[in-house]
């Protein structure tokens, strides 16, 4: 089993890992000839199945294994990966390699950075502590006009580009194909409504406010502590560009509404049924009062929305009273034609 590659798009990769780690600390990473897939399946809450074409984050890769398509399955902790990627942003180059250290498999990231020369040493302005900036002579009351001048180092550019090589070793577990073959992406029926979400930062700000309101109203009306309250938010959309976020509790009922959103056209070639028979066609025909509604856990929803940091286009697919799936299309900076998707699943 071999895996070796250079990293590219480390900033996007890092954001993806950050979004994943808000849901779960350990991910299953599946590599093969064409794709890199990250899957997180928390005990409760939303799952993420993120599938990226391999050239989106890797370059000059070598992937070899005894499995079909050279599949390699790894289990890896996301926090160390994120920390390692932080070192790699702004680096000259970074590469990833699966190896062993003391018999323990690790994903080793080698990063080359170069740092600009030091500016003025810190602290000088404050107390003039740098001997180089000090007036020579130990007597502070000495006359300045003593003909003695402090020697200062020559400022040169000789060491302008300083390279450092950083190795970040992330502990991993190599998973046997049998242990992962039973883990399948959940099958959800054809969605009733699909709609492009408004900017996630906006949606998240409002959702978080609703969640806090719900916790506050619940905590004041009963003795339950805020930590144990899991408020549900009601999210609905129709096929006429409207999205509704609602919080309905015993004491308050608030709602935010977006309109003029896009309901993208379906690609008939991707469908298993004729487009006329698709549930979304029925929802469209029944007019703007036909809503597909799901209830999401406020805290979990907030974590899911952190995927917004990827700046992707997000399409929400509502299966009425059943499930919500978010497809996040991450822009490919080098090649705008190729879209790579991150799939986020929310079950209601």
């Amino acid at each position: 089993m071999r895996f070796k590659a250079s990293l590219r798009n480390t900033r996007t990769f890092s954001k993806l890992v950050a979004a994943l780690s808000s849901l779960e600390k350990i991910a299953w990473m599946r590599l093969d000839d064409e794709t890199v897939r990250f899957t997180v399946i928390p005990d409760t809450g939303s799952q993420v199945w993120a599938s990226l074409s391999i050239d989106f984050i890797l370059d000059n890769w070598t992937i070899q294994s005894a499995e079909p398509n050279n599949t390699i399955n790894l289990e890896l902790p996301l926090v160390p990966l994120q920390r390692a990627l932080k070192s790699a942003t702004n680096a000259v180059s970074a590469s990833l390699r699966l190896t062993k250290k003391d018999g323990v498999p690790i994903l080793s990231m080698t990063i080359t950075t170069s740092t600009a020369p030091a500016n003025l040493p810190q602290g000088v302005a404050r107390f003039n502590l740098n001997p180089a900036n000090r007036v020579s002579g130990n007597d502070p009351y000495n006359d300045d006009d003593d003909g003695v001048f402090a020697a200062e180092p020559l400022e040169t550019n000789l060491q302008r580009e300083r390279e450092k090589v950083i190795t970040q070793d992330i502990p991993v577990r190599v998973l046997h194909p049998e242990t992962v073959e039973t883990i399948m992406q959940p099958k959800v029926r054809e969605p009733d409504v699909h709609i492009q979400l408004p900017p996630l930062l906006q949606l998240k700000a409002i959702s978080d406010r609703f969640t806090k309101l719900a916790i506050a109203s619940r905590a004041s009306s009963s003795s339950a502590s805020a930590a144990n309250v899991n408020p549900k938010l009601e999210l609905s959309a129709n096929m006429h560009g409207d999205l509704r976020l609602r919080l309905d509790t015993d004491t308050l009922d608030v709602e935010s509404r977006w309109s003029g959103l896009e309901n993208p056209q379906l690609d008939p070639s991707q469908l298993t049924c004729a487009i006329e028979d698709h549930p979304s066609t029925r929802f469209r025909n029944e007019g703007p009062d036909k809503w597909a509604t799901v209830r999401v856990d406020g805290k979990d929803w907030s974590k899911v929305l952190s995927v917004g940091r990827l700046d992707g286009r997000v399409i929400a697919c509502f299966a009425d009273d059943h499930a919500l799936i978010l497809y996040v299309y991450v822009p490919h900076h080098d090649d705008p034609q190729a879209d790579d998707s991150v799939v986020t699943l929310v079950k209601s």
Binding site: P121, Q122, G123, F127, P140, I166, D169, P171
Partner: protein, 446 residues
């Protein structure tokens, strides 16, 4: 009459605060030693694996400085203070220098007077004068006890390097959380800084292991670099190292490291204007073995769980408000004893000069009182300062290789549980003031 009085400028207060913050990362207590020409603050950590000292040149650092001395000991005065209290009174009081109005609340200067006289309350009195005309006066109790100084034999430290704190800070930036040790190893033209932990991880825990980071820095990034021995791995505590370079970075002073071989102390020092900082860190490591495998590590680093097996001292708070006996002479007897030093015992006979021991290990306990060498009671930790007591834990097998953490860990179950030393109880004196009494003044933060 005051033993010591000095005045600090606004900048002086800031520098003192930075120094105290750095020392506070080693110990809760700070020892102050005043002489005519210099004022030294020192701290020794509880496992005695790290010693920190900051010396101020009195003529350069203070606006005014007057040392009068005490009757018993003319040439120097020493006391021990609670660092958190000092930090909180010298803390920076808001104030944005860009806004004139807020600047009013910043410290203008600070007058400190230490009084220690029979019939009078011994106090460390700090008067802080703010820009806006308000004067705050703080009285802190202190304990007169001689400081413990660690010594460093510079002649044996054949390896040394010097670099800017910026370089060191840049490499620390790459280290993640959860690491304990830092391995420094030179190879060809690069210097490798590798951090790691020895916390065992088994089974599913493997993924909980921290990120292991190694940074290779070109030797020419150092001002100087002289390490003669090949494959010398020197390992120190990351936490201590981080505290030091943070402070060095604030001073903007180049850091000089001197060391010899693993299990001998490493000296890190840097100087500012009128201030000299020196740190001695216990090292472990390995010689002559390529690669950082099979690393041997001392068991006794702060943060290590379980009872500590090497010489251990609880909070160095001996509850002795009376002037302590003059510094005990370094007797030959103290040399022949298993001396608690900054150095974990090593099995190979050393051809080097006598070890750099602490000035006197008998500073904490009455001399010739073998009871003082009894293990410390760890169960007593509940009451913290109130009940802190001193004692040495010598139950660890001093002849065994204490360098190997695993060996130490396997010794653990057989190590007898420490017992309370009742004799020490009898000799104990009440503190000058109870912490609970002082707390209400809000000096101790939380």
């Amino acid at each position: 009459m005051a033993v010591l009085r000095f005045t600090l400028s606004e900048d002086g207060v800031a520098v003192l605060r930075d120094a105290l913050a750095c020392l506070g990362k080693f110990s809760d207590e700070v020892s102050l030693e005043a002489k005519k020409d210099r004022l030294v603050l020192t701290a020794l950590n509880t496992s005695k694996s790290a010693y920190a000292s900051v010396a101020f040149a009195t003529n350069r650092f203070f606006s005014k400085y007057h040392y009068a001395g005490v009757a018993q000991n003319r040439d120097k005065f020493f006391c021990k203070l609670y660092n958190r209290a000092l930090l909180s009174l010298f803390r920076s009081r808001g104030g944005d220098p860009l806004h004139d109005r807020e600047r009013d609340t910043t410290i203008d200067r600070c007058d400190v007077v230490i009084t220690d006289e029979a019939g009078k309350k011994s106090r460390f009195i700090a008067k802080i004068i703010f820009r806006n005309g308000i004067t705050a006066k703080y009285r802190l109790p202190f304990e007169v006890s001689p400081p413990v100084h660690a010594k460093f034999d510079k002649t044996e430290a054949v390896n040394n390097w010097s670099t800017s704190p910026r370089t060191l800070r840049q490499l620390m930036d790459h280290f993640g959380p959860g690491i304990d040790y830092l391995d420094i190893h030179a190879e060809d033209d690069v210097v490798n800084f590798t951090c790691f932990t020895e916390k065992a991880a088994n089974g599913d825990e493997v993924l909980k292991k921290p990120l292991q980071t190694s940074v290779a820095v070109a030797q020419d990034e150092f001002n100087s670099f002289h390490v003669g021995e090949e494959n010398l791995h020197i390992v120190i505590s990351v936490k201590d190292f981080r505290a030091i370079i943070q402070h060095a970075a604030v001073l903007g002073a180049d850091v000089l490291a001197n060391y010899s071989i693993p299990a001998r102390p490493m000296q890190l020092k840097y100087d500012g204007d009128g201030i000299k900082c020196e740190f001695l860190l216990m090292t472990v490591g390995e010689r002559g073995a390529p690669g950082p495998k099979n690393k041997k590590t001392r068991a006794n680093v702060k943060g290590a769980t379980g009872p500590q097996l090497e010489e251990t001292v609880t909070r160095a708070d001996s509850h002795a408000p009376t002037p302590a006996p003059p510094v005990a002479p370094k007797t030959s007897q103290s040399r022949s004893n298993p001396i608690p030093s900054l150095r974990p015992p090593i099995e190979r006979p050393s051809q080097r000069p006598p070890p750099a021991t602490l000035e006197s290990e008998s500073l904490f306990v009455p001399q010739d009182n073998d009871e003082g060498w009894e293990p410390v009671n760890i169960d007593e930790g509940g009451e913290e300062e109130e009940n802190a007591r001193l004692g040495w834990d010598t139950t660890g097998d001093l002849n065994a290789s204490a360098l190997n953490m695993r060996t130490m860990m396997s010794n653990q179950p057989s190590a007898p549980q420490p017992t309370i030393n009742n004799d020490l109880d009898l000799t104990q004196l009440e503190p000058t003031q109870r912490l609970s009494q002082v707390r209400k003044f809000g000096l101790f933060g939380d």
